[in-house]
Amino acid sequence: MKISPIKIWRRQKELKHLLGKKGKIITGTTIYVPGSHHSDKAPFPVVLVELENKHRLVGQLTDYRSGDLTTGTKVIAVLRKTRSSSKKSVIVYGISFRPL
């Protein structure tokens, strides 16, 4: 099902408050069999991160090297494309985590 551009716009208003937040990986996985919205990205790692303010959130791991997908790795929240997009659709940005 296509995602509404309005829904994307509404969700993205919250992202600026999360950018630059630091935390560490609690757990994670590498997705080898994705859903249709992420089919051109697989395999890709996703991590559950506990931020310094103890708030937890999930996001893809980006700009990583082998060994970074490990519990305890320190990461920072950055803005990245999160879904597959076409020439006719809105490009969806969201929070990903880059190892520090």
Binding site: T29, V33, P34, L48, G59, G94
Partner: protein, 383 residues
């Protein structure tokens, strides 16, 4: 006491020749035949289904059932992700308890194999949080995160997960309705490709079609007439946050623990009294967590217990888990699963389970989970 007097589960698998409502019809008329009831004796129907709207543009199932059966009774469609069947059963029970009816039919069904796997995976992901969907997390991905956390915390390996699939595939071999009737080994599981690390293809339940129905009643004359009857001692539902990130503990499904504690209290028995359990093994890690959260094994010990395969039929134990093959081998048509689980316990308690029958079980438990633990239903049956 509310009592189950009839049950029917269709074959689970890739059933391309049958539509969603073909399967519903098979299971409904099968359950009516099993109970000896006519359709006009049913006062209400609860229909568990998750993906009809998402995949097939197929909603308003109550009216479709009414047309199929030629009835004008109340029919309710129930959606609670993979717990749609279990929740439908719970609502049917409550409908009777609140004196709205004496006899209710509960049916669960799902049609999944008409669609490409990525479309089904995306459809199932509609039962995750928006944040999880945006990150590309699938249900295998969410359970993989739980698995990685559990394996690291309690120093287990992927081999400890593999035993679950080996056991449940063996049970599937004994169930003619199971999606898979194929024995597998630990080596087979470990050699299968990753779906979401550390979970592999053979740690995962399949995409299946199927339906299952039960008839429950408090009508004493129907219970007396019934060829086979089993009492429902408890049916409890609990919920938790939809997001893993909002959970305090990642080595448990809290909703399961709460529902189980309430159900055992209601049934006035303990986990040690259970002889047969159908637990929600959508992924191998889910059975390990379930066995601990339901109170059968202490937290952190499920890996060690699984290694002994003590809950496998034929291993001399008086406590067998997932004799149907579980979701892993019997299949997982999501809306049907919760009903099939209760149906399997009913078959065991009425000694109709054929090759997989266990010796004189007295109490049985069914455990159905929605999503990654956002909903859990625990049902206890007894003779």
């Amino acid at each position: 006491m509310t009592t189950i007097i009839g049950h029917h589960t269709t074959k689970f698998g890739e059933l391309w020749q049958h539509s969603l409502f073909d399967l519903v019809k098979q299971s409904v008329f099968g359950a009516l035949k099993d109970s000896g009831l006519g359709k006009d004796e049913v006062e209400a129907i609860f229909f568990g289904n998750m993906l009809g709207g998402v995949l097939e543009n197929n909603l308003h199932g109550g009216a479709k059932l009414a047309e199929m059966l030629g009835l004008n009774i109340p029919i309710f469609r129930v959606e609670s992700a993979c717990a749609s069947g279990g929740v439908a059963f719970n609502l049917g029970m409550n409908y009777i308890t609140s004196s709205q009816a004496k006899t209710v039919l509960v049916v669960g069904a799902e049609k999944m194999t008409d669609y490409a796997a990525d479309a089904v995976i995306s459809g199932l992901s509609s039962a995750t949080s928006g944040e999880e969907q945006e990150a590309g997390l699938t249900f295998p991905g969410l359970y993989a995160m739980l698995a990685r956390y559990y394996l690291e915390k309690y120093s287990y390996t992927e081999k400890h997960l593999a035993y679950v699939s080996v056991k449940n595939h063996y049970h599937g071999l004994l169930n003619d309705n199971a999606h898979f009737q194929k024995k597998i080994t630990v080596a087979d599981v470990l050699a299968s490709p990753y779906v979401a690390d550390p979970l592999k293809v053979l740690d995962s339940s399949p995409i299946s079609d199927g339906a299952s129905a039960l008839i429950i009643t408090t009508d004493k004359s129907l219970i007396k007439k019934a060829k086979r009857a089993v009492s429902v001692l408890a049916s409890e539902v609990a919920t938790d946050s939809i997001s893993l990130s909002a959970r305090k503990n990642l080595d448990e499904l809290l909703a399961t623990r709460i529902a189980a504690e309430k159900a055992f209290r209601e049934a006035k028995i303990t986990p040690k009294d259970i002889s047969i359990a159908e637990v929600h093994d959508c992924f191998s890690i889910a059975e390990l967590l379930a066995m601990e959260d339901l109170g059968f094994w202490k937290k952190g010990t499920a890996g060690k217990h699984m290694e002994t395969m003590s809950t496998m039929h034929g291993n001399g134990s008086d406590f067998i888990v997932n004799s149907s093959g579980g979701l892993k081998a019997a299949g997982h048509p999501v809306g049907a699963t919760g009903i099939k689980q209760i149906g399997e316990v009913y078959l065991q308690l009425t000694e109709q389970a054929g090759k997989r029958q266990i010796h004189k079980p007295r109490y049985g438990l069914a455990h159905n989970v929605g999503g990654s633990g956002g909903t859990a239903v625990v049902t206890i049956l007894g003779n």
